[in-house]
């Protein structure tokens, strides 16, 4: 029983070891500003990864979130300069949910695989962002808004607080509500869900709307941190978010996963990319490194299975010998 627990929370262990090693080795890693910036980076992908956790637990994917960030950012920045802060934040959340709704309806009600649908919206959303703004950049100057990205309360950066709050809510929704149970059940077996009377289509659609909402919040943080909204932002965002979720031990095949591990994995992922920067690794190599990390994370489940099988085999041999 204990061993399984270690396997489940391997990310925590890796993160702790990684931090201790880096803390000892690198003097620039130890700087307070650097640690803060890691947490900021972690929240940017992490918030979207929270929504992605739901989607992947269901056994689906969303590739369109990077383009959604571009579209939402443009809309938000445009509105902020004319309509003020609060309305623009409300509008961005609403549009995020609508974007998720579009994805969700096509996927759930027309029985289309999620990855191809979101590949289509991946291109459409970004194209819309380009069209809306003619590929220009909108600068955000509202000081209160900029605090969302770069402010901090005490020593803790604001984005990280948002991340943790959303993480706790996500955790409660996933583990303590009927909806969360339905999501997990859907990932295990869609057929069984249908037979037992769960409205699978609605569950699926809601998860994609949730993803849209998380992306909207992510957009706020990203835009506030960069102090501008541009159409070329977050081109590899879907890739980062999926890596974080999978790194957190959520199974690709669905049915199993934890929000807590996603949060830890987001911090780990940000730490790794931070360290690659600290050691001046070339940007070309960084992408390859990230790709390899994702590949390792993907095959983690396979390796675990292999170990379990080997253990079973050896136990069988022991019992046979006895």
């Amino acid at each position: 029983m204990k061993k399984i627990n270690i396997g489940k929370h391997a990310v925590v262990l890796i993160l702790i070891i990684f931090w201790i090693v880096m803390y000892a080795m690198s003097s620039s890693f130890r700087l307070g500003d650097n640690l803060k910036s890691i947490l900021r980076e972690a929240s940017m992908t992490g918030i979207a990864a929270l929504g992605m956790t739901f989607i992947i637990i269901m056994g689906d994917f969303d590739l369109s979130i990077g383009s959604m960030v571009a579209l939402l950012g443009i809309v938000m920045a445009g509105f902020m300069n004319s309509a003020g802060l609060i309305p623009s934040l409300v509008i961005v959340c609403a549009i995020g949910v609508v974007c998720g709704f579009i994805n969700g309806v096509i996927i759930a009600y027309f029985n289309v695989p999620a990855f191809i649908t979101t590949l289509g919206t991946y291109y459409s959303f970004r194209a819309m962002a380009y069209i809306l703004n003619d590929a220009n950049t909108i600068i955000c100057t509202n000081p209160v808004f900029l605090k969302i990205g770069s402010g901090s309360i005490g020593v803790i950066p604001v984005p990280f607080i948002i991340f943790i709050v959303l993480g706790v809510i996500g955790c409660i929704v996933l583990n303590r509500t009927v909806y969360g149970r339905n999501v997990r059940a859907l990932g295990n077996s869609e057929k069984a869900c249908k037979i037992s009377g769960i409205n699978t289509k609605k569950v699926k659609m809601l998860a994609f709307m949730l993803m849209g909402l998380c992306t909207a919040v992510s957009t706020m943080v990203i835009t506030a941190r960069q102090a501008c909204a541009s159409t070329d932002v977050a081109t590899n965002f879907h890739f980062d978010a999926i890596t974080v979720v999978v790194l957190g031990g959520t199974k690709l095949t669905g049915g199993e996963g934890s929000i807590f591990n996603t949060i830890i994995a987001a911090i780990l992922y940000a730490t790794i990319s931070n360290c690659l920067n600290l050691y001046h690794v070339d940007a070309k190599w960084q992408r390859i490194c990230m790709g390899l990390i994702l590949l390792m994370a993907f095959s983690f489940g396979f390796i675990q299975q292999l170990i379990v099988k080997m253990r079973e085999n050896s136990q069988k041999k022991i019992t046979q010998n006895a």
């Binding site: 289309v112 289509g120 194209a127």
Partner: protein
């Protein structure tokens, strides 16, 4: 006769759309109808059509390849590097070798590490693009005055452009392999029911690896044409290639869920998309709108595809009841 029409209803309706669109565009812009432009469209068709033929095989086997655009780029870089140092023939050989390796690696990751095709090729997409950028060292490799490479895109045999001949050749070969060989039949059976195929003695893993390899090899042919068009070895080409190819295949009526491909549909769909792109281009429509239009077409095709799959399923269920 009626049955013949019913059987080819997909292709016929696509054909009708092509004719209507072509007529509309011609009215809007008389330049559309010139022999030069039609030749242009057909060369444009060959670029996606060839790769789409390979992708149809992948879809049939129930997998697909997101990394195809990156393979396009890697092949372009390798081709240019080898061609400038040791001649065109070794370059083409090297290109094929590289592609076969990429395809086999994709297949091995999917079958041996048991990662879903989409996730695995998402990783290799990043990795292969990374390798291409590394090899090119961030610059384009010029291929000036290489007549034999230029021939690949603008050469003619008996007045017919070489890419068109290549496309016809690829489709004739694919058609024979797909419908007339044991391999094609096995591939279809793996796509429609992998478990049953395995039990009946088909080596499903090998089939999937073969499907990936075929996709990669057709991507090489596309890359040869593309590289010859731009006359550069470029690590940045083909960013949207996966979208174009997938849209083509799905619009052509190949089932996303595997088991049933439609090669003639793929060819017709690639003509349709080329006509749309060319028509928008010639009418001076911004390229962002083109991307949006292609994305919308993909989503539309997916919805049609989904409805068809649901009908199919219902029919199977009804037959099962009797």
């Amino acid at each position: 006769m009626k049955r013949l029409i019913m059987k080819h209803s997909d292709n016929l309706s696509l054909g009708a759309v092509i004719i209507i669109l072509f007529a509309v565009f011609s009215v809007m812009q008389p330049n559309m109808m010139t022999a030069f432009n039609i030749k242009n469209i057909l060369v444009q068709v060959s670029l996606t059509a060839i790769a789409a033929a390979g992708m149809t095989f992948a879809y049939t086997a129930g997998v697909f390849d997101m990394s195809i655009g990156s393979i396009l780029a890697l092949v372009s870089v390798v081709l240019a590097k080898v061609a400038t140092t040791s001649g065109v023939f070794p370059a083409v050989v090297a290109a094929f070798v590289i592609a076969v390796i990429a395809g086999v690696v994709n297949g091995l990751i999917v079958t041996k590490l048991k990662i879903q095709a989409f996730a695995a090729t998402l990783v290799t997409m990043i990795l292969i693009r990374g390798i291409a950028v590394l090899m090119a060292n961030g610059a384009d490799i010029p291929l000036y005055s290489m007549e034999s490479i230029k021939f690949l895109s603008s050469g003619t045999i008996a007045g017919i452009p070489f890419p068109i001949i290549l496309t016809v050749f690829v489709y004739v070969c694919s058609y024979i392999i797909y419908y007339k060989t044991a391999f094609g039949m096995k591939l279809r059976s793996v796509g429609s029911n992998a478990e049953a195929s395995k039990i009946s003695g088909i080596k499903t893993d090998r089939m999937i690896i073969a499907a990936f390899t075929m996709t990669a090899v057709t991507a090489v042919l596309s890359s040869l044409i593309k590289t010859a068009q731009v006359m550069f070895g470029k690590a940045t080409i083909g960013e949207d290639f996966a979208l174009d190819v997938m849209t083509t295949v799905i619009l052509g009526g190949t089932l996303v869920t595997g088991g049933k491909g439609n090669l003639t549909g793929t060819l017709t769909a690639s003509i349709l998309i080329a006509v749309i792109k060319n028509g928008l281009n010639i009418n001076n429509v911004n390229s962002y709108y083109q991307q949006l239009v292609i994305g919308m077409i993909l989503i539309f095709a997916l919805i049609v595809n989904g409805i068809k799959a649901m009908k199919n399923e219902r029919q199977i269920r009804r037959e099962g009841e009797f």
